[in-house]
Symmetry: C2
Subunit: 362 residues, 2 copies
């Protein structure tokens, strides 16, 4: 069932040509582009067979051929040559990142900016935590004179806060007690008993009860990882592509983008592979039918990973995009490894940095 060598070469050439020009490619032009001379007639024969096999499509009878989604799939899986990014580009990337990555909170933003800038496509980026965030500790801080409190949750690698507006003031000492009780319950993993016990001792319509219930909701929400923050950079760049010259199509995709949770869900499906590619229909959404998503993930800390990728027309330069994404994750784990190392060197040592693991799976 393996495709014979010549067919592979022809298909590869067609895909690359189409990626380049966005125009159906014909037998004549293709024949000329080969160094070993093959006649256009031969190519025509091969083409019509490739068409039968489902790798090519004709927009209409007298145009050239266009790769099908199956062709793109084959191309990324087998045909494409994986090239490396030029060292000067790599250096530029490292510089961009060193300067932007100083603060962990905007690592997602920076990631999408950097990769968007590099590829000149629309970049998406998010942070995913293993099984949601585990809340480790909780603090209560009076903000207003009396009635407004902030609940601050400390999780694996982040701190979240929420304002609580209470109808009547709660004494700081009461709040401190509640805080202690909460932390005890968290550390003993018995959160579910807390609310009933508060109800018993303070009454169901006490302010403290209300406050506790709000905080528990917040904890639950945080641990469920309710809404992952998804960043999108350069959505407008999509309009540069021929396939989105038609405003109708463009609108569909931009609308899809505006629902971050959909995009987030897509990205969450990243598996351990160094590079994930979802082509056209594989994205399972009609508005994305002629786009592809190429993405990858990188480790931020033991249970947090970043996911970053680019969305562009199915006709995109997969080789280039893939190479840049790989370079990106390597650079970022380099940058973060260095930071981590710096941290450890000054204190004690207990973690080995894992970098440059090659994974030739599939």
């Amino acid at each position: 069932m393996e495709l014979p060598e010549r067919k592979r070469r022809i298909l590869k050439a067609i895909v690359e040509n189409y990626i380049d020009t966005a125009e159906p490619v014909g037998s004549k032009a293709l024949a000329d582009s080969f160094d070993t001379p093959i006649s256009s007639a031969t190519i025509r024969n091969e083409m019509s067979e490739l068409e039968e096999m489902g790798y090519l499509e004709k927009p209409h009878v007298s145009a050239g051929r266009v790769p099908s989604f199956a062709a793109y799939r084959l191309y990324v899986n087998e045909l494409m040559d994986r090239h490396r990014v030029a060292t000067n580009e790599l250096e530029a990337m490292r510089l961009m990142m060193e300067s932007k990555m100083r603060e962990i909170d905007n690592i997602v933003v920076s990631a999408s900016k950097v990769i968007g800038e590099m590829t000149q496509h629309t970049a998406v980026s998010m942070i995913s935590r293993k099984g949601g965030d585990r809340v480790k500790r909780c603090e209560l801080i009076a903000v207003d004179s009396g009635s407004t409190y902030a609940a601050v949750l400390v999780t694996g690698s982040d701190v979240k806060n929420k304002m609580l507006r209470l109808a009547s003031p709660v004494a700081p000492s009461t709040a401190a007690m509640l805080c202690t009780a909460l932390n005890l319950a968290i550390s003993e993993n018995r959160l579910e008993y807390l609310l009933p016990s508060v109800a018993q001792s303070m009454g169901e319509d006490s302010q403290v009860y209300q406050m506790t219930s709000d905080i528990l909701d917040f904890i639950r929400q945080t641990e469920a990882g309710s809404k992952p923050e998804v960043y999108i950079d350069g959505a407008a760049r999509l309009l540069d592509n021929r396939e989105y010259q038609d405003t109708g199509r463009a609108r569909e995709v931009l609308e899809y983008f505006s629902d971050r949770s959909k995009v987030g869900e897509l990205l969450e499906s990243a598996n351990g592979d160094p590079i994930n590619v979802r082509i056209g229909p594989e994205l399972q959404d009609p508005s994305m039918r002629d786009a592809s998503l190429v993405f990858t993930s990188y480790q931020i800390d033991s249970n947090t990973r970043g996911i970053v990728g680019i969305i562009a027309p199915a006709r995109m330069d997969y080789a280039d995009v893939t190479a840049k994404l790989i370079a990106f994750t390597q650079t970022i784990s380099g940058v973060m490894g260095r930071q981590r190392k710096q941290l450890k060197d000054a204190g004690e040592t207990d973690e080995r940095r894992t970098e440059d693991e090659e994974d030739g799976s599939r």
Copy 2:
């Protein structure tokens, strides 16, 4: 220099017709639309005078006339009749808001969603604090075993946090001391003396010094109000408009949107007027040359206000948009007033809610 009555009526009709159809309006069609019969010839005469005065433009000699930016300006300032939104729409808005406004943190997001939905245009929204945020208090929380701290700042109406990664651990007791010192310095307004004194007692390369300096930077950043959060809803809706059928134009504007700080700056210029309107060139940005921004602000608390508006082609239904924005601010201050009232009723009473103030300025 007042425009005579008939010219005003004609200009108004032209603007409204153009808003409606997006097509140059001609003398004949216009004549027919009047109840008091005027001949098309008369209208032609009036039109050519209006053109001389700079209120009308001809796309080309044999088309009708199109309003100039000056015409839109005149229209919003004097010609347009300010209509009210239908009560059922108002009710729908109130419902949408009641459900979405429960949490203050996403008031901006909800505001842009609601108003975007109502007008079917691109909505922008942000929060602006009077003279930046004043930091009132600060807390330090150890996150990791030793080396990672969170600084939590309490400001007028919000809480901000930032992770600090330190090279070596700082003892909790030291952190607590630093915290006390910080709060003292804040309350006495002598922040600038803190760093030198830490340097003196702990040494310039101590961890505490580093930490202090980081926190002070964060405080400064917060007080400068570095980056206001600007939300944009329904950017894709822009593509529905005839003037952005051309992808080039659309791209320009979408790119403009992606620079939130620019949009934020624009919105910051809201003055006390119930409604602000910036038409085309008044936006001072070439990519926005044929768009307009209509926006308004509403009070969130004593020194925080929200700003919300819509961005659409200069040819937009100003009367409708304006009415909806006004209805929005009234509804929101109603909703928030009720929340505030609820809060006070349960505790003490000290603030009167101000609602339904009519302001016929200008």
